[in-house]
């Protein structure tokens, strides 16, 4: 079982959600985050005082999936979230030790 975490541009969330639905991923968790990669920030003025906008709003999509479809999931997110412009984001894949469905107590791949 793998956790696929993608940090993407906020307006791409709907596209990613649809793409994941299409390949059968049944549940995701979404968080609003801020971040930057190699894309640097810029300065703006507030009432004449300069401030740096370093952290850009992004959305983080977490999907726990079974290991056999990981490559498809990564590919789906990648194509849906891509714009070709700087700041598209990154996808991280980590291993999950255990998954539990709280309502029924199911564990492992049954719980995905």
């Amino acid at each position: 079982m793998k956790m696929v975490s993608a940090v993407i541009k906020p307006f791409k969330l709907d596209d990613v959600r649809e793409a994941l639905s299409e390949i059968g991923v049944q549940g995701i968790t979404v968080t609003e985050v801020k971040g930057f990669g190699r894309q640097k920030g810029h300065t703006e003025l507030y009432r004449g005082a300069e401030y740096v906008v370093d952290f850009l709003p992004k959305v983080r999509v977490d999907a726990a999936v079974s290991s056999d479809i990981v490559e498809q999931v990564v590919e789906a997110i990648s194509s849906a979230a891509q714009t070709g412009k700087i700041g598209d984001g990154k996808i991280f894949v980590t291993s999950i030790e255990q998954v539990v469905r709280i309502r029924t107590g199911e564990t492992g791949t049954e719980a995905l």
Partner: protein, 418 residues
């Protein structure tokens, strides 16, 4: 036949009294609504962690103003007895000189102006003042400091028996100086005693931006103030039940609106030229600056003049805000600039369209009001500082005064029952 004429005439007189009273009360209610405007404007321009405290300050100062003015302020300003014990319910029946509106309406209209003057201070000292220190100051400002200068202006009394501002040609229709510049003078004294927010001014002379947490609220607050100002200036005509006064009221509404519009556009363009982009907060301050600029004389200018006066206020307020920051005077909402600097402008614009006033009268009046309010406020702030301190600790300021002064977050998340 004669009886019928007489009774009709008596009815008309009663009707005029009723209409003027009604008008006065509605205008007073509109000015009360400005308290909501100030609360929203300030809440929108401070950080989230300081929102509850500024809202508490705003509603509390309004209530304190009403009570202190009732206890002694009104008596100091207009004569009469403390605790309003002498106020008659009926100004008309059997009176030698019948009033044109109910006496309690006079108190009601006046008391909401006191609250307006006081609320100007709360924005300037935001994010680092102890709540109860502020409220203690409010008691003295609304019960004594404001009523004293009010008594020398609208009250018509001589300044400590020395000179009479009205005789010298001083004119301030709805209070650019008496209310707005006075509030700003108290605010300036407070800010000087208090000091700037931590991190606002860096050692190398830089100014850090501390953006407000809720611009929709700030904008709503500005619109609410704009609406309330129709009562502020409109009600200061004091009557509407005859042709002359209704015409004056209409002109005042029209000019008040025009000045605000001029202020917005001028401030927006100025910000665009200086910063390269539109600055909403400057546009909001511009609207208020326009309103303050016309408040000293909204009835004699033409609509175009009113727009231009507002525009001058809009340009002036932007430069004033930047200048105060250069002087390291930290004013999170621009209150000193909007109400003080432009309040003075408002006073000086009066002789341009009103022959009954003079520049010398306006200047003497401005110096009197500013001098009195600034000096007495400074004394009170320093006294409060000695007794209980005015500033929260560095850690409390970092955590946010919502927690330290109110124990309550404005936008709570992750709270749980015990």
């Amino acid at each position: 036949m004669e009886e019928l004429l007489n009774s009709t005439a008596a009815d008309v007189t009663q009707l005029k009294y009723a209409l003027d009273t009604f008008y006065f009360l509605v205008c007073g209610a509109l000015v009360m609504w400005m308290a909501a405007g100030f609360a929203m404007l300030e809440a929108g321009l401070v950080r989230a962690k300081n929102t509850t405290e500024i809202l508490t300050k705003n509603i509390a100062l309004y209530a304190i103003s009403c009570i202190m003015y009732l206890v002694c302020g009104y008596a100091i300003m207009y004569g009469g007895e403390y605790l309003l014990s002498g106020i008659t319910g009926d100004g008309f029946t059997g009176a030698e000189e019948p009033a044109t509106y109910a006496p309690s309406a006079d108190f009601f209209f006046q008391v909401v102006f006191v609250a307006t003057a006081m609320s100007i201070v709360s924005g300037a000292v935001a994010e680092r003042m102890k709540l109860w220190a502020f409220l203690a100051f409010a008691v003295v400002m609304t019960g004594f400091i404001y009523p004293m200068e009010g008594s020398w202006t609208w009250g018509g009394n001589a300044v400590f028996g020395m000179y009479n501002l009205g005789d010298l040609g001083f004119s301030d229709f709805a209070g650019s100086g008496i209310v707005h510049m006075a509030g700003a003078a108290a605010a300036l004294a407070g800010v000087l005693v208090l000091g700037a927010r931590k991190g606002k001014y860096t050692k190398d002379g830089g100014v850090a931006a501390i953006p407000g947490a809720n611009l929709p609220l700030a904008t709503l607050g500005t619109f609410v103030l704009w609406l309330g100002w129709f009562g502020f200036n409109g009600g200061s005509v004091l009557a509407t039940s005859d042709v002359e006064n209704s015409n004056a009221v209409a002109v005042v509404f029209m000019n008040t609106n025009a000045a605000a519009a001029g202020g917005v556009v001028a401030a927006l363009i100025t910000a665009r030229m200086l910063f390269g982009k539109a600055d909403l907060t400057m546009a909001l301050n511009g609207a208020l600056a326009g309103l303050v600029a016309i408040t000293a004389e909204p009835s004699t200018p033409t609509a175009l003049q009113a727009t231009l006066f507002g525009a001058i206020g809009g340009v002036l307020v932007v430069f004033s805000i930047l200048s105060l920051d250069k002087m390291k005077i930290d004013d999170p909402v621009g209150a000193i600039s909007v109400h003080g600097v432009v309040g003075l402008l408002g006073l000086l614009l009066v002789p341009v369209t009103n022959d009954g006033s003079s520049f010398s009268g306006q200047i003497i009046g401005a110096l009197t009001i500013f001098g009195w309010v600034f000096v007495t406020s400074m004394i009170v702030w320093l006294a409060i500082k000695a007794v209980m301190g005015v500033r929260v600790s560095e850690e409390e300021e970092y955590e946010g005064v919502d927690i330290s002064e109110c124990g309550m977050e404005a936008y709570p998340e992750f709270t749980s029952a015990k």
